[in-house]
C-alpha cells in the first residue's frame, strides 16, 4: 500500500509529556519559539493538581525532616547544604517567573490557580494528612483556608467511590479540626457499582446533574456553610462547575485531591492536549521517541504512531523524559541507564545500595537521586564532563541529585528547570 511518512520541521523538540515537558512548551510559546512536543503519556494524569516548590529538606542525618513554611528560605538553605540540587542552580527570580508564567497559562486556558506567594500553603491530602505546597487549583483553595480558620465543615464522599473516604479524612484531622464531620451521598444516576471521579466530573459538566447533586449536598451539609468534596467538580470547566454548584447549593465548596486516577491530572492533560495544537505546537503526546541523532545542521527524532512513521527535524532538543515510570531512566541488573542516548547516569555504586532498609523512612532511597548531570545551561554532560551536544538540553526529574518525592518539590523542579532550559535554548538559537 502506498503510505506517506510524515515529516515535521521545528526549532525546538521537547521530548516528554509530564509537567516538565508541558512547562517547556509553555515557556517556548511565551518566547515565540517554534516547537514540537513528543512523548508517551506521562505521569501528569497522576498529579494531585498541587504545584509544590519545596516542602521539605534534609537534616544533618539525611532525613527529610525540615518542613518549610517559606519555600524560598528553604531554597536558600538548600543552596548551602546541597549545591548540586537542580533548584540550587536557579536564581529565585527565575523560579518565581517560571511559576508565574506556568500558572498564568493554566488560568488563561480554563484551570485557574492561586498565585505563587511568599509562603507555602498547608494543603489537605486525599487521606486527610497535611502537606506543604506553593500553588493549588482555585477549586481547592477554600479547603486550606477553612482548615486554618477551623470552620464548621462537612467532608462529603460518595457511595461506590473507592480511594476517597470522608471518615478517613476526618479521623486524621479531627484533633486539629474539631468542627469537621463527614456525610456520604449517592451520586445522581450512579446508584450501583464502582464509580470513578472522572465519570462524576464529566457528569457534572451537564447542568441537570449539578441541579440534582446540589440538592443532595444541601441536605448533607446540615448547618455547615462549607463542604469539601473529592475532586470531581467538572473536567473541562472546573471553575464554572464549582461556581454553579455553590450557587445552587448555597454553600462554599472546595475539592480535595483523590488517589489516582484523579481528575486534576486528567484536567491538565486534556487541556494541554487541546490547547497546544491550537497555539501552534506540534503535539504528539502518545508515542515514545525511538531514536534521536545529532548532526552539524541539527537533530532528528524518529517515532511512529498508529498511522505510521514520523520524523522531526529540529535545531534543539529538550530531554524531559522523567525517571523510571515514564522510561527516562531504566533500571537493569547491572545498573541504571538513560535509554535514548545512553547518557551517563549518576547513581549509587552498586545495586545493593539503591534502597535504604527502611522503605518508608524519612531518609528515602539513594536510587531516587539518580539522574543525568547538566552544565549551567542545562546541557546534559557526556562521560568526559563536556556537553553531549550543543543542541541538547534537559529538564525535570531526569536530573540527578534530587528526591522530588520526599522533598515535595516535583513541580518546582519540573517548572524551574524547564524555564532555564528553554531560556538556554533561546540563547543558543538566537546566538
Amino acid at each position: 500500500m502506498t503510505e506517506d511518512a510524515r515529516h515535521f520541521k521545528t526549532e525546538l523538540a521537547i521530548i516528554g509529556s509530564g509537567i516538565a515537558g508541558f512547562a517547556a512548551s509553555i515557556f517556548a510559546l511565551n518566547r515565540q519559539l517554534d516547537c514540537a512536543q513528543i512523548g508517551n503519556t506521562g505521569a501528569v494524569a497522576y498529579t494531585t493538581g498541587y504545584l509544590d516548590l519545596l516542602g521539605k529538606t534534609e537534616d544533618n542525618e539525611g532525613a527529610f525532616k525540615n518542613t518549610h513554611d517559606n519555600p524560598w528560605d528553604g531554597l536558600k538553605q538548600l543552596r548551602t547544604t546541597h549545591a548540586n540540587h537542580p533548584l540550587s542552580q536557579i536564581p529565585q527570580a527565575d523560579i518565581e517567573e517560571g511559576f508565574k508564567q506556568f500558572t498564568a497559562f493554566l488560568g488563561e486556558c480554563g484551570i485557574a490557580y492561586t498565585s505563587p506567594g511568599v509562603n507555602n500553603i498547608t494543603a489537605l491530602t486525599p487521606v486527610g494528612t497535611l502537606k506543604k505546597t506553593l500553588c493549588l487549583p482555585a477549586t481547592m483553595a477554600a479547603g486550606p483556608k477553612a482548615f486554618a480558620a477551623k470552620k464548621k465543615c462537612v467532608i462529603i464522599d460518595f457511595k461506590g467511590l473507592k480511594g476517597f473516604s470522608g471518615r478517613q479524612v476526618v479521623a486524621n484531622l479531627i484533633d486539629q479540626w474539631p468542627a469537621l464531620s463527614t456525610q456520604r451521598v449517592s451520586f445522581p444516576e450512579m446508584l450501583s457499582g464502582e464509580i470513578y471521579p472522572e465519570v462524576m466530573a464529566r457528569a457534572l459538566e451537564v447542568p441537570a446533574t449539578r441541579v440534582k447533586l446540589a440538592e443532595l449536598l444541601k441536605t448533607a451539609a446540615g448547618e455547615a456553610k462549607i463542604i469539601g468534596l473529592p475532586a470531581v467538580l467538572g473536567m473541562h470547566s472546573p471553575d464554572t462547575v464549582r461556581t454553579e454548584l455553590e450557587r445552587l447549593a448555597g454553600l462554599e465548596i472546595f475539592e480535595i485531591p483523590t488517589m489516582p486516577p484523579s481528575v486534576p491530572g486528567i484536567r491538565l492533560r486534556e487541556m494541554f492536549e487541546q490547547v497546544f495544537p491550537q497555539k501552534g505546537v506540534t503535539l504528539i503526546p502518545q508515542q515514545k521517541v525511538t531514536s534521536l541523532t545529532f548532526n552539524d545542521q541539527g537533530a532528528q527524532l524518529s517515532l511512529a504512531d498508529n498511522y505510521g512513521p514520523i520524523t522531526i527535524d529540529t535545531q534543539a532538543v529538550i530531554l524531559a523524559t522523567g525517571r523510571f515510570l515514564s522510561g527516562g531512566l531504566e533500571a537493569h541488573i547491572e545498573g541504571i541507564e538513560e535509554p535514548l542516548l545512553g547518557l551517563p547516569v549518576t547513581q549509587p555504586a552498586d545495586r545493593t545500595s539503591w534502597y535504604h532498609e527502611k522503605y518508608t523512612g524519612p531518609t528515602g532511597h539513594a536510587i531516587h537521586k539518580t539522574g543525568i548531570e547538566v552544565d549551567s545551561s542545562f546541557r546534559p554532560l557526556a562521560s568526559d564532563g563536556t556537553p553531549f551536544d550543543e543542541r541538547l538540553f534537559a529538564a525535570g526529574i531526569i536530573l540527578a541529585h534530587q528526591d522530588w518525592i520526599r522533598g515535595r518539590s516535583g513541580a518546582g523542579i519540573a517548572i524551574a528547570t524547564a524555564y532555564k532550559a528553554v531560556e538556554a535554548v533561546e540563547k543558543f538559537l538566537r546566538a
Binding site: E3, A43, R202, E205, M235
Partner: protein, 427 residues
C-alpha cells in the same frame, strides 16, 4: 449466548506474550486504573479493563473466556490511549471474541458477517451486486428528472481507471437510498473522477467484530481485488468509521498486495473546501444553531489521529460558523466511543449498550448543541438511540447533508435528518 459451557478456555497470559510487540508486557501494568476510569464499559457485567488485565495476570482464564463483557467492550482502544504503559487490551478482546463458538456469539454480529460473505457486494445487509446497481440507477434517474440542476449527474459503476473507488454503507441503498444523492452531488460538483465497484462496494465489516480472522481477511481480499481490478488510485472511504479501520488494519495484518491509497472522504471535504471546489459557507445559519462533532474512534484514535480530527473541525466550522461549533469534551483521540461500535448495535444487548452510551449522552448534553455531525453510521445510529432513550433533544446529521444544505442543493427527499429548525430555513 446462554450455554457458556462450550466456550474453550484461553490461556490469556500466554497469548498476550505472543500477541504483544517486543518490549511490551501486561506485567508493566501499574494498576493505576486510568483505563477503567476512562472506559464507558466499566462496570458492565461487573468487569472493567483493569480487572480484565489483572484477572489475566492471575490466570483466571475461565472467567475471562466466558465473560459476555467482551461483547460490550467496543475495542475502541481508549484504554490504551490513556495508559502510561501503552498497554493494548483490545487485542485480548479480539482473541476472546474469536474463541466463542459461533452459536454462542451474539447472533446479530454473526448474521451480519454471514451476509457480508454471501455476495460479492460484501454487504452486511446481503444486498447483491445486481440489486445495488439497480438501486443506484433508479435513484439517479429520479434525481436527473426531478432536479434539473443535476440532469447530467453520473453515478459510475465499474469504471476502469477511475481515480476514486467509492464505498457505500449498505444502509443507504437498502433503507434510505436518497441519502446517497448528497454524496453524488458533492462528487459531481468537485468534478471527481470516481466509480462504485459492483464487487466490494459495501463499507461495513462485522467479521472483524465477530473475531473471525479468516472471514475478515476474505472480505477485505474481495474489496482489495475489486479496487485493483478497476485500477483505481484511491479507495475512498465515505461516511463510515469501521470500514476504514478494518481495511487499513487488515492490509497490514494480512500483508495484502495493494496498488492504491486508502483515504477518508473527510480529508477530501477539507481539501475541496480549501481549494474552493466546494464553496460552502455558514451564511444560512442565521439563527446560530449550535453543532458539535463526534470523532469516530475507528478513523481518529485508531487510525489517522489528530490530522483527520483537525480536518473535521475545519469542515464543520466552515459549514456552521466558527462561533456555532462547540467541541465535545473530551475530543479528538481522547473522545469516548459512542457505544455503537464493535458490533454493539448488532449484538442485541440493548440495556448494556445504552448504559455504555450514557457517557456519550452526557458529553453531548454538556455542549448544549442542537445537532451532532459525524462521519460514521454506527455513531449516527447509537447517538440517535441514546438521545431518544435519555430524553435528549438533539439531532444527528451526516456531513454530506449539511454540505449540500450549505450549498443550497439539498433535495426534498434528502432531508430525513433535519429537525424543524433546519427545515424552516429551507422553506
Amino acid at each position: 449466548m446462554s450455554d457458556t459451557n462450550k466456550i474453550p478456555t484461553i490461556n490469556f497470559k500466554e497469548s498476550a506474550m505472543e500477541l504483544l510487540p517486543e518490549g511490551a508486557s501486561f506485567e508493566a501494568c501499574l494498576t493505576c486504573g486510568l483505563c477503567s476510569s476512562g472506559c464507558p464499559a466499566s462496570g458492565i457485567e461487573n468487569m472493567d479493563p483493569r480487572k480484565f488485565i489483572r484477572m489475566a495476570m492471575l490466570g483466571m482464564d475461565e472467567e475471562l473466556s466466558t465473560t459476555p463483557w467482551v461483547w460490550c467492550c467496543t475495542q475502541c482502544k481508549r484504554c490504551q490511549h490513556v495508559c502510561p504503559m501503552n498497554i493494548d487490551i483490545s487485542q485480548l478482546i479480539f482473541l476472546a471474541r474469536g474463541n466463542w463458538p459461533l452459536e454462542n456469539k451474539p447472533s446479530g454480529i454473526v448474521r451480519s458477517c454471514q451476509l457480508i460473505r454471501s455476495t460479492d457486494s460484501t454487504s452486511a445487509m446481503g444486498l447483491p451486486p445486481d440489486d445495488f446497481i439497480f438501486v443506484v440507477d433508479d435513484v439517479l434517474e429520479e434525481v436527473r428528472e426531478t432536479q434539473p440542476q443535476f440532469k447530467a449527474m453520473e453515478a459510475p459503476m465499474d469504471k476502469k481507471g477511475a481515480h476514486f473507488f467509492v464505498n457505500q454503507n449498505s444502509r443507504e441503498p437498502m433503507n434510505e437510498p436518497d441519502e446517497m444523492v448528497p454524496l453524488w452531488k458533492i462528487l459531481d460538483m468537485v468534478g471527481a473522477d470516481w466509480t462504485y465497484g459492483s464487487k466490494g462496494w459495501a463499507a461495513e465489516n462485522f467479521c472483524m467484530f465477530s473475531g473471525d480472522e479468516e472471514a475478515w481477511f476474505e472480505v477485505i481480499k474481495t474489496r482489495v481485488d475489486s479496487v485493483n481490478e478497476l485500477g483505481c488510485n484511491v479507495w475512498l472511504n465515505t461516511e463510515c468509521g469501521h470500514s476504514y479501520y478494518t481495511m487499513w488494519n487488515a492490509i497490514d495484518k494480512f500483508d495484502l498486495d495493494v496498488n492504491f491509497k486508502l483515504e477518508s472522504l473527510i480529508t477530501y471535504y477539507a481539501q475541496w473546501i480549501r481549494e474552493g471546489k466546494l464553496p460552502v459557507n455558514s451564511d444560512w445559519n442565521v439563527n446560530k444553531i449550535k453543532f458539535t462533532v463526534q470523532d469516530p474512534c475507528m478513523i481518529v484514535r485508531k487510525a489517522y489521529g489528530e490530522s483527520i480530527a483537525e480536518d473535521m473541525r475545519y469542515v464543520v466550522e466552515k459549514l456552521v460558523g466558527e462561533e456555532n461549533f462547540i467541541d465535545m469534551q473530551p475530543n479528538r483521540s481522547a473522545n469516548y466511543c459512542c457505544g455503537g461500535g464493535g458490533g454493539f448495535l448488532q449484538a442485541g444487548m440493548t440495556d448494556h449498550r445504552r448504559t455504555y452510551g450514557k457517557r456519550k449522552f452526557d458529553q453531548i448534553a454538556a455542549t448544549g448543541a442542537a445537532y451532532v455531525l459525524t462521519p460514521c453510521h454506527n455513531c449516527h445510529s447509537q447517538m440517535e438511540d441514546i438521545g431518544h432513550f435519555y430524553g435528549g433533544n438533539y439531532g444527528v446529521v451526516h456531513f454530506w447533508t449539511l454540505i449540500c444544505l450549505s450549498l443550497g442543493i439539498l433535495g426534498e427527499n434528502e432531508r430525513t435528518y433535519l429537525g424543524p429548525d433546519l427545515l424552516a430555513l429551507l422553506d
